[in-house]
Point group: C2
Chain length 206, copies 2
């Protein structure tokens, strides 16, 4: 299995274990190489293990020791881009949603935003890759689903809320803005709060 | 200048003008070839005029007679994908917004949805292309902006509505769903109505 957790966490505490530092650094470099190549506009199909190895400054064997094939490497790279699964505090639904939107606007997620834009069509048309991608992405969606359902129970949200649509209404604008700065007239500052509050209160004149 | 209108309209009524049919058909084939290649995951940089000509079944000279360079061809292909500028009826803001969402879910827009996903990062990082793309896309955004402002004046929408954010809140979910079927649990049937109504009424328990 690929060392997803190690790579994602940056492996800070692993540095002391003998023999680990080089591996952890190599994993980071390999995952970053894949993401950088995708972000530069290369299609997944066009990326070779040779090219990844060369860019990461490691041998091909180092990659094959950790990942059985290119697909497994891709999925781990996407997981690394997404970062660790966010954990809502569970006090206010509004604050939890803000935190979830913010969690997608940091570090690799923002740096490699263009990756997702370009990669998703490719991922989603291949059934096998689509399935692997779902395994990375569904636990993240579940976190937001649980927050929304909690709000429906607590009375913070409408009892008849369409959870799946609301998921899309929060993630859609976030992804477009993070990946593409799609509407440059929407301010970066306070984006998560502004979006969540707008989704909550609605556009209709009360 | 490139024959954007002719290509976009399908040139039905032009068929009778002598000498036009072949041109209009060639234009269609050329624009479709560009979109199909982009939709197949090729980067804009990797697409050559030769390859477009070959796929469209025309000579390179035919392309160069209509478009001075690859960038102009790309922008016209994007315009053709978007179709003609939609014209809201102006009666109900809700109905106009539904129509605008639906206008992005038909024909080429849907067929080549993946194009936009993959192309935008490439377009937006090049200042010149970004400027050309804005010229295609801003008039479309303006149509929705005008509908939203009309609603603020008429009282259908909050007087303090954030127009730019609302634009993103309607377009973001639409684009993600059209391009990628991002959340397969959201129904296609009635999508435009469901989304617009949810944006209008808000998620908060009233």
């Amino acid at each position: 299995m690929a060392p997803m957790t190690t790579a994602v966490s940056g492996a800070g505490q692993d540095r002391k274990a003998p023999g680990r530092p080089r591996n952890a650094q190599a994993d980071e470099a390999i995952l970053d190489a894949v993401l950088a190549m995708l972000a530069a506009g290369q299609s997944f199909a066009a990326i070779s293990i040779e090219a990844v190895a060369s860019r990461a400054g490691v041998g091909k064997a180092t990659i094959y020791r950790r990942w059985p094939n290119k697909e497994a490497l891709l999925i781990d790279a996407v997981a690394a881009m997404k970062g660790p699964l966010p954990e809502p505090a569970g006090l206010s639904v509004r604050d939890d949603l803000v935190m979830l939107v913010q969690a997608n606007r940091t570090g690799r997620a923002l740096r490699y935003g263009a990756v997702t834009a370009c990669l998703l069509p490719e991922l989603l048309k291949d059934d096998h890759l689509r399935g692997m991608y779902q395994k990375v992405i569904e636990p993240r969606r579940d976190v937001m689903r649980q927050v929304l359902r909690r709000g429906m129970t607590s009375g913070e949200l409408r009892p008849d809320l369409d959870v799946e649509l609301t998921l899309l209404m929060i993630s859609g604008p976030s992804m477009l803005q993070n990946m593409l700065n799609w509407n440059p007239r929407v301010a970066d500052e306070g984006f998560a709060e502004t979006l969540v509050d707008a989704v909550l209160k609605g556009a209709k004149n009360a």
